[in-house]
Structure formats: structure tokens, C-alpha cells
Symmetry: C2
Subunit: 262 residues, 2 copies
DNA sequence: CGAGGTTACTTTACGTCGTAAGGAGTCGCA
DNA sequence: TGCGACTCCTTACGACGTAAAGTAACCTCG
């Protein structure tokens, strides 16, 4: 299930996102939980089990039943929105422009990438219906602030912001989801991949002849240990990081071109 | 639920993807269905209801129960894989290079975009664990074939292929998922958006002051009816198309820069 | 032609999910 | 002291994917 952001009452969710818990106690027993604690628990559970976490699991982590959560949060969708926005709060809200826009954007992209790596489930939250939380705004504001300094018109910047955003998300997905799925089935990513391609080659032996250009792409490899490679990480992951770096470079070259032109 | 590609027996799914139905009949009643018909029905249902379609719905469309499908297909994950690959078959497998690589890539991106628009659920199929079907290969092969003609080394092209792919997917998602979600709740995208931003402005009146750079981005609009705008489409969608065009332009400028450089 | 095995499809059922409904206990305030 | 508001629980419903077992159609072999 892909969670579409905020299908419930818009006012309720947006208030939760922007105002936090409004603590005006009247009567009744003391709340043992809080929206914050539930969001934290939700993030912890989702980090472990992915986006298919259950309300029951979140409740259990807090020593409550699933239904207890509904006192604080209207439903799972809204909880996911809150978790999403909380996660975005991990990211810096501004970047130094001392060295120009390019290092700043690069840093933004890497921070984003790492945040996605820590919380892969975030990548499953629908893009199309933005959560519209304060921290999500802040993250995009940070990127926008960097890019506005190029002097490009907003018309052009919108496409660029989108492109950078999509690129980082997509690239992170390639790594992060693989890890998550591996965890879910207990199957490591590498093994999954090798099992797959072995079967594929067995069934379709002349694969390379059928798709020669893919073969060209795959085969021009760096020496196994480039100075950038992290020996801690599995091969596939270093590969993905390398593609991330070079893809981002090209994308930013394009931006640079736009800046240089009239 | 995000559907991870092929968590079942790898051999079985890959055989289904590459060999199709192996028709060697022996005995027993005549099959009333086929893998093909099930995949078609699945696509039709998913086009209507999104990725959260149910096996029961697919069965019903074929006049069968959900369990009847399991005679032909190992499970829902595998069915989604097949649906995904079938969808990719709608796309061209090669592009003319007569006018150079750039118009070809642009065409590829637009074809991809339109395919995603027709079948928004495709965007929910996990990127990380590629389906590894023949038509998915063919689509990437087509893009690779175009880009190899630039003469760039494979090392660099991998990042570029990724960047273009991610960009198109992300941009399509922004439009397509919005439409799909609107359909699911019976709420049109425009209305959803306006309701949301109205509440947001009510709760957070000085939003523009808190995020001034986003304001800059949003406000440099073209005149409402540019020659590219499609009056049939809602405003938000034309906007997204415009951002798609300009983002792609910047990205390809970057590629051009890489081609020009040593 | 008839028996037996194979196959297509159905019925039933299990365990999961999100969450609606209603009740039990706890506290602040009249 | 009691009322109303509040938290949290139990129970239950209808969805989901799919396992297990049953029924009936059909081919092949005697």
C-alpha cells in the first residue's frame, strides 16, 4: 500500500502538523502517551519493518493497544504524515553559499540521500500529495534558497528543483528499497541479485546479444577499489553511490549551463 | 503496500516473464483463462483502482473467483511483475538518431511520461528490485542505445541513464499519483489542492514570510495561456508539464556539456 | 466404452490489516 | 459527591492475500 498523504479531514491533519499537540488539559486521566511519542515509535517501527508497519506494532512498542493511538492521531495516514515531517526535521534548514551554489546543492543532495538511507520508508510516501508539513517546506526552502542565488528566474528554477529532488529520491530508492526488501525476506540484496541474474542467464543465455547497449553500459567499470569506494559497503551499494555522484554532476553541469547563458 | 518485485521463486517468475505461457496440454478441463488474459484484466483493474487493486477484483472481471488466478500465476507480486512488463511493451524499442541524440532522448522521455500517465500504478512498482522482464530491458536498452551514440564512456552513462530515468519517473509521479488519489477518494486534484492550501494559509497566515524562497519560485509564472499549454488539462497539470519540460532541458544541457568536454 | 489420473476452478477458512463502537476506569471541577 | 470529559481497552467488522481441500471436467489408456 502506498500511503497517500492526508486523506482525512484536512484541517485536523494540518493542525497536527503545524501546531503540534495543543496541551489544554481539562479533566480525565493523565495522558500516558503524546503525539510526539507515537510519532517517534512509528518512525522506529517503520525503520525496522518498512512502510508496511502496523498500528498494532506501534501500539505494542508503547505498551498500548493499537486503538489507544486513535486518541491522539486520526488514523494511519495522518500518522505517516507526521512521521514524514518529523523525519524531514533531521535535515539542515540552510546551507552556506560561501563557496557558491554548487557545493551547497551537492551537500543538500548528500544530506537528503543519507536521510533517505536512514529511513527508507520515507521514499514510499507519495510525492504527488505533499505532506505540507513545516519541515518538508523547510527542506525545499533550503534548496530553493541555494538555487535562487544563481539568479535564474523562478520559472526555470521550478523545473530544476524538481529535477534535483526527483533525482535524489530515485537514486536513494535504488539502494534503500533494496536493503529494506532484503531485510523483509531475510535475503541480503547481493544474494537476491545474484540468484536472479543467474536464473535469468540460464533461461535467456544470449541476453547480452539481445541488449548490447546495456552490456556496454555495464561493462565499463572502474577498478574495484577506487579511492571513493567504501570497503565497508557491499559492491552494489558502492556502485549506486558512484552513479549517484556522476548523475548529480551531470545534472548540476546543466544548471551551470543555464546560469552561464543569458 | 508497495509491491516488491518477485519475492517468490525466482525461476518461476522469470520463466513467466520471458517464456510466457508454455502451452503443453495433457489432460483435464480446458483452461478458461490464460496468463495473458489475467495480466490484461489486472492492468485494466489497476488503471481504474490503482495499485491497491485486489485479486478478488481481477478474478471478478474475468468471471472467476480470486483463487482461480492462482492456477496461472503464483501470487499477486508475480502478477504485478507481469503487468509491469506488459505495460513497458507499449513503448518503442528504438529511436531515430537522424537528428542527433537529444531529440531522441526527449522523445523517449515523453513516451515514458505518457505511459506513466496511462498507467499510474506502474510508478508504485519498486525501482530497487527491477522486474527484469524483457520489455523493461528493451525500454532501458532503447535509452542506452541513444546515449551510447554520444560517445561517452559507460561509466558516465550509467549515472546519466539513472538521472533521466529518475527524473521522468518523479515528474510523472507528481501528476499521475495526484490524479489517481483524487479518483480513489472521489476528490479531484484541484479541489484537494485548494482545500489544503486554504486551510494551510488559515492556520499559518505568514507562510510566505517563513519560506520566502519558495514564494519566489512560485510566483514567476508565465502568462496563463502560453502556446504550449493544453486548455483541456487542469491548471496544475499544465504546470507540471511545464516543469517537466524545463527540468529535462536542464538535465540534457548537462549531458551536452559532458559530451562537449574531453 | 469406462476407469483413473490430471487439471480448472470453487468453497471455506486462516491470519493479517485499519478502524468503528462501546464500555471501563480515572481525573478535574461543580 | 457526582457529573462530564478523558484515556485506554475489548470486541467486532469487513477488507486483504492465499493455503487447503473439495468438485467437476477432460484426456489417455485399457
Amino acid at each position: 500500500m502506498v500511503v497517500y498523504a492526508g486523506q482525512g479531514d484536512p484541517r485536523r491533519s494540518i493542525e497536527l502538523l503545524w501546531r503540534g499537540t495543543v496541551a489544554e488539559k481539562r479533566s480525565g486521566p493523565k495522558p500516558g502517551l503524546s503525539v510526539d511519542s507515537i510519532v517517534d515509535a512509528g518512525i522506529a517501527v517503520a525503520d525496522e519493518q518498512g512502510m508496511a508497519f502496523s498500528m498494532r506494532a506501534v501500539g505494542e512498542r508503547l505498551g498500548r493497544t493499537a486503538m489507544a493511538l486513535y486518541t491522539y492521531v486520526p488514523g494511519k495516514n495522518e500518522l505517516v504524515d507526521l512521521m514524514y515531517d518529523r523525519t524531514m526535521a533531521e535535515l539542515p534548514t540552510s546551507y552556506s553559499l560561501d563557496d557558491g551554489w554548487r557545493p551547497a546543492v551537492t551537500q543538500w543532495a548528500h544530506d537528503m540521500w543519507e536521510c533517505y538511507s536512514r529511513h527508507p520508508w520515507v521514499l514510499q510516501v507519495s510525492q504527488a500529495r505533499p505532506v505540507l508539513g513545516p519541515h518538508e517546506f523547510a527542506v525545499i526552502e533550503a534548496l530553493a534558497a541555494i538555487l535562487v542565488s544563481t539568479g535564474l528566474p523562478g520559472r526555470e528554477l521550478r523545473g530544476i528543483v524538481g529535477a534535483i529532488n526527483y533525482f535524489v529520491r530515485g537514486a536513494a530508492q535504488t539502494v534503500a528499497e533494496a536493503r529494506a526488501a532484503g531485510g523483509a525476506t531475510g535475503e541480503a540484496d547481493e544474494e537476491w541479485w545474484y540468484a536472479r541474474s543467474a536464473v535469468l542467464l540460464e533461461i535467456e543465455p544470449d541476453l547480452e546479444k539481445k541488449f548490447p547497449m546495456l552490456h556496454v553500459l555495464e561493462n565499463d567499470r572502474e577498478p574495484a577499489t577506487s579511492d571513493l569506494a567504501d570497503p565497508e559497503l557491499p559492491y552494489l551499494e558502492n556502485d549506486a553511490v558512484e552513479n549517484f555522484r556522476s548523475g548529480l554532476r551531470v545534472l548540476l553541469d546543466g544548471v551551470e549551463g543555464a546560469v552561464a547563458k543569458p
